[in-house]
């Protein structure tokens, strides 16, 4: 048999005989643990949604089987009965299947973490295993990654716990899920996922395939850390504790093959189109890899696939990338492009379909236009309906006639309010739930303005109490994305607050120094230790110091000081602390930085701008600042209108030249510079 043969060959290469004797195992999580596909996934679990007329879980299983997996554990929770029925009927559960599929169901799984903890509790895996979701479509040959993983584990005794498979694809690729946008830092030599190493690359051109090769320890680690919910939690946890626990995560980056997870409808659209465009070869529609009777179809030019018994009316065109399931009939003068149409559909005359995804038993009347939308099983679209982009018609909805649905409309037979009501029993068995919802549907009337005079269904509004992923406003298509990722703002915020506390500390130090008459050298020592405690650069220390000193009078006597009072109290302070300044301001650049800090402060306190000259003069006299630096700053530093205004301020100019004359040093040349 193929997989066995393949594996044995590999075994000879790596000479890992004792490992090879155990079959390769996989854990397939047939639940997404979120509600991104609601209301569609209310009636059908996500893993069973058809992609190119084949359930998504079949792609995942075929991927696993072709990599040589011999034992797969399928974990289901939401609507587990349906998944079980599907699998029992499929070729995976035939006795000849090279991949033995075990189905494990429980209503208690709420996250990936729960599943893996159960894997550990039941002691299912004995060796390295592949972890995938039930909605991953891939043809990547992971045997290479597996080999690398095993090699690493052999070399450094179980340090590496996980190898994640990434595919190269540049940003902006349509199959890159925007929510999944990852920036990966890795050690360039060992391909280690890393926080800090000597030599590392940062990559933004990787697509997370959501395929991971895990060591058995992964399950144990999930058990040990019961707060791990998702794989992200796990990765974060491992990286943070890398030095303590010594576990590492590695990457496998591939250029060949295809791998993507259908995590929202945007991805569904892309992956479906990629499949029709044969990126996932050999998992193409005409290959009929699920071995189901009557599923075969033919492939002809421009990627047009036709199932058995398809009829096409006169003048209808299937332009490109079209997949039509069996027993579907299409009327006259239709234009179909980039679409997938399921089995047993009927389509009327003069219909335009572009990027439409129609599942089974859909009825579309004449003169209908559908753009980039999903139409689920049993839906009926009546005459002259127009579905604009990103509409979703869930199961058994009726729309029309004569209606145009605005962009992004989701119509479902489930009333949106019932969502909250059966929040509690969402994890109960599905038949109960269906009975529930049917009762309710009958009670509420349909709104003809929303779904048309003969329509059936309710506009589905995303519930706002969605706690699973707050920052993604729950959106089927997954287009709404926070412009700036959370992590960025977080780190900035923390940095800012750090600066702030440092400033307060410096202020405290100076205050104490003044009160207790501490020698300036000791103040410098204290500030230096603060610098290390808060991990702040020398430049920042100096700027903050300048700021603290200049703000000191305000701090002590309130902000309602007149300019005269301000200078009066500040100048002696400057004199007292001049050694501190001198300690930090040494190089020419330091002078400029200090000046810019002074400028910044006086820009904020614009009522006291006139005091600036006095301050600068004092600092010059105390030899904190050099004249050259001041002049340089004066001539070049104007960066914006306000600062220019500050400099052009008559008073400033005059006083400047005044004190410069007082200083009696080579005026003439600098006057010229000043005037420029």
């Amino acid at each position: 048999m193929s997989s066995r043969g393949g594996k044995q060959k590999k075994g000879n290469v790596t000479s890992e005989q004792e490992e090879e004797e155990q079959p390769l195992q996989a854990v397939l999580v047939a639940d997404s643990f979120n509600r991104r596909f609601f209301p569609i996934s209310k009636d059908q679990p996500r893993a069973l949604l058809p992609l190119g007329n084949v359930a998504m879980i079949d792609y995942t299983l075929e991927f696993l089987t072709s990599t040589g997996v011999q034992e797969t554990f399928v974990f289901c929770c939401w609507m587990s009965n349906k998944i079980k029925d599907h699998l029992l009927k499929s070729k995976w559960c035939r006795p000849t299947s090279p991949n033995v599929v075990h189905i494990i169901t429980s209503d208690l799984y709420r996250s990936l973490g729960d599943v893996l903890r159960d894997v550990d509790a039941k002691n299912l895996v004995r060796n390295d295993f592949i972890l995938v979701y039930g909605d991953v479509v891939s043809n990547i040959d992971v045997s290479q990654a597996l080999q690398e993983h095993r090699h690493r584990r052999k070399v450094d005794k179980n340090i590496s716990v996980m190898t994640m498979v990434f595919k190269e694809s540049s940003p902006g690729h349509k199959t890159r899920c925007e929510e999944d946008d990852v920036i990966v830092a890795m050690d360039s030599k060992s391909k280690r996922f890393s926080m800090v190493t000597d030599e590392f690359e940062i990559r933004h051109d990787l697509l997370d395939c959501h395929i991971s090769i895990c060591s058995p320890q992964v399950a144990e680690l999930f058990t040990d850390n019961f707060d791990y919910q998702t794989r992200n939690d796990f990765v974060r946890g491992i990286l943070v504790n890398e030095e303590i626990l010594g576990n590492q995560i590695h990457l496998y980056v591939t250029q060949d093959g295809y791998g993507a997870r259908v995590s929202n409808l945007q991805m569904y659209d892309s992956v479906s189109l990629d499949m029709v465009r044969r990126w996932v070869y050999p998992l193409t529609p005409e290959a009929n890899f699920t071995d189901q009777q009557g599923q075969g179809c033919t492939h002809s030019r421009h990627n047009v696939y036709r199932g058995a018994e398809v009829s096409l009316g006169h003048g209808s065109q299937m332009e490109e990338n079209v997949l039509i399931g069996r027993d579907t009939s299409i009327g006259a003068n239709c234009h179909i492009s980039n679409s997938v149409i399921g089995n047993n559909c009927t389509i009327g005359d003069n219909v335009v379909l572009d990027r439409a995804h129609m599942w089974n038993n859909v009825h579309v009347s004449s003169n209908v236009e559908i753009h980039q939308s999903v139409v689920c099983d049993g839906a009926v679209v009546k005459e002259a309906v127009r579905l604009n982009k990103q509409c979703v018609l869930a199961y058994n909805v009726v729309i029309g006639p004569n209606l145009s649905l605005p962009e992004g409309t989701v119509v479902s037979m489930h009333h949106p309010e019932e969502e909250e009501e059966d929040d509690d029993d969402e994890f109960l068995s599905d038949d109960q739930e269906v009975g529930h919802s049917k009762d309710k549907t009958r009670q509420k009337a349909f709104n003809p303005a929303e779904v048309g005079p003969e329509g059936k269904g309710y506009i589905w509004k995303a519930s706002m109490n969605d706690t699973e992923d707050e920052e993604l406003a729950q959106c089927l298509w997954g287009l709404v994305l926070n412009p700036d990722p959370e992590s960025d703002s977080e780190s900035e915020a923390s940095e800012e607050s750090q600066d702030r506390t440092f400033q307060l500390e410096v202020l405290g130090t100076l205050q104490r120094g003044l009160e207790e008459n501490i020698v300036c050298d000791n103040l410098v020592l204290e500030i230096n230790s603060l610098k290390y405690a808060y991990n702040i650069t020398l430049k920042e220390v100096m700027q903050i110091l300048t700021r603290v000193v200049l703000e000191y009078p305000f701090q002590q006597q309130g902000t309602q000081l007149t300019t005269l009072q301000y200078t009066g109290s500040l100048l002696p302070l400057l004199k007292t602390w001049s050694p501190v300044f001198k300690n930090y301001i040494k190089r020419a650049q330091d002078h400029l930085d200090c000046l810019s800090a002074v400028e910044e402060l006086f820009l904020e306190q614009d009522t006291h701008q006139t005091a600036m000259v006095k301050v600068l003069m004092k600092m010059y006299q105390l030899e904190i600042l050099e004249e050259e630096a001041i002049l340089k700053w004066f001539s070049t530093g104007a960066t914006n209108d306000k600062s220019r205004q500050l400099r052009k301020n008559q008073g400033v100019m005059r006083r400047m030249s005044l004190w410069r004359k007082e200083s009696e040093e080579d005026e003439s040349s600098e006057e010229g510079e000043c005037g420029r």
């Binding site: 048999m1 193929s2 997989s3 066995r4 043969g5 004797e21 079959p23 089987t65 072709s66 011999q70 006795p95 000849t96 299947s97 090279p98 033995v100 043809n139 040959d141 595919k167 190269e168 694809s169 540049s170 940003p171 902006g172 690729h173 349509k174 199959t175 051109d205 250029q255 060949d256 093959g257 295809y258 465009r277 044969r278 990126w279 996932v280 070869y281 050999p282 290959a287 009929n288 890899f289 075969g296 033919t298 492939h299 002809s300 421009h302 990627n303 490109e320 990338n321």
Partner: protein, 367 residues
């Protein structure tokens, strides 16, 4: 089911295990065929596929339950249909099924006592009067039929083993000293053919790289290892270089019933350029590549693989704006071909129909 390893250890046990093992083997072979060829052509050569198919069919003959030739043919046909459906572009599989069916017919006829000579001879009279032995006639039971069929299949296997050598042996008749030979892509048969000629003669080989898979590179490496003077050219340079070429020698994936070829992409270009310069085009094709398929069966004729090689997936945004196709095969019409060299000698394209009727029984053409 018994796990894979178990099944292997019980291989020699009789009865149900045997049958389970057989179906498992067939399933594995089918799965292999479906996944076969991830773009760069089949992982195994078609010769290997042919041998594997024949070996599997021998196993079916030996292990399946059948009592008469008719039953056996029905079983083989059923499996054959599944095998050909698994990978329609891999015609060798279908060809081998037809060969085995033909063997069964012959062995049955021999057991019945009618001489093969009369059966083989075709005359206008015979064509008009009867269609040969019809299905009902295969119901008779013969004790030695099974052994005979297996023996004949073994002979077929031996023939398959020797095909490449047989073709290579003819190399010296076709390649002369100081000739410039052009070939395209990589063909195991052509490689063996050229290497054989290189033992005695010195000549120069120009290899068209055959983008996007660029198997030509591998071919050139292998040839130069055998110390043959080799040049790799881009596909665009084929016409420009053709004027210097004395002979074009290519391999093929399938020889079609009309004498045309289904060969790797770029072969048509080479054939047209050769015709323009009146350069002889020689095709090295073992007999098992001869298929009763005609080129008009368009649905299964082509094979499109992942466009990755043409425009990498990493390209990003551009991919959503363009359609990329990556076909694998070219059709080369028979009038562009000068000579076929098979394991049984050289033949003109116009003679293919005759070989076809010798190898396959006309009633089996569609399984």
């Amino acid at each position: 089911m018994g796990s894979a390893i178990e099944a292997k250890t019980h291989k020699n046990m009789p009865g149900a295990d045997k049958e389970a093992d057989l179906t498992e083997r067939i399933e594995a072979f089918l799965a292999d065929l479906k996944r076969g060829g991830c773009g760069t052509g089949p992982i195994r050569g078609s010769g290997e596929t042919a041998r594997e198919t024949t070996a599997l069919l021998r196993k079916v003959t030996a292990q399946a339950r059948w009592s008469s030739a008719g039953d056996l043919m029905e079983i083989i046909r059923k499996e054959g249909r599944r095998m050909t459906a698994a990978q329609p572009s891999e015609t060798t599989v279908g060809n081998m099924v037809l060969r085995v069916l033909k063997i069964i017919r012959e062995e049955y006829a021999r057991s019945r006592g009618s001489s093969e000579e009369t059966d083989q001879q075709e005359s206008l009279h015979k064509l008009l009067t009867s269609g040969g032995l019809s299905e009902e006639n295969f119901r008779q039971h013969f004790v030695h039929l099974k052994a005979n069929v297996i023996e004949a299949i073994n002979e077929l296997l031996t023939e398959l083993e020797g095909t490449t050598d047989n073709i290579a042996m003819q190399a010296l008749e076709h390649i002369h000293s100081n000739e410039v030979i052009m070939t395209v892509g990589r063909s195991r048969t052509v490689e063996a053919f050229l290497k054989d000629a290189a033992r005695k003669r010195k000549f120069h080989v120009i290899v068209a790289e055959c983008a996007p898979f660029c198997q030509g590179h591998e071919m050139a490496t292998n040839l130069s290892k055998a110390s043959i003077e080799t040049t790799v050219i881009a596909d665009a340079a084929i016409f420009a270089v053709m004027s210097r070429v004395n002979k074009v020698i290519i391999g093929t994936q399938t020889v079609l019933a009309n004498g045309g070829l289904r060969a790797v992409n770029g072969t048509h270009t080479v054939a047209l350029a050769a015709r323009h310069h009146s350069t002889p085009l020689i095709v090295c094709a073992p007999m098992f590549k001869l298929s009763p398929q005609f080129p008009n069966e368009e649905d299964t004729f082509h094979k499109f693989v992942s466009p990755h090689e043409v425009l990498p997936f990493t390209e990003g945004e551009i991919l959503s704006k363009v359609n990329v196709h990556c076909p694998v095969f070219d059709y080369v019409p028979p009038e562009l071909i000068t000579l076929f060299i098979s394991n049984i000698g050289g033949n003109a394209p116009s003679y293919i129909y005759r070989l076809m009727s010798e190898l396959y029984h006309p009633e089996d053409h569609d399984l």
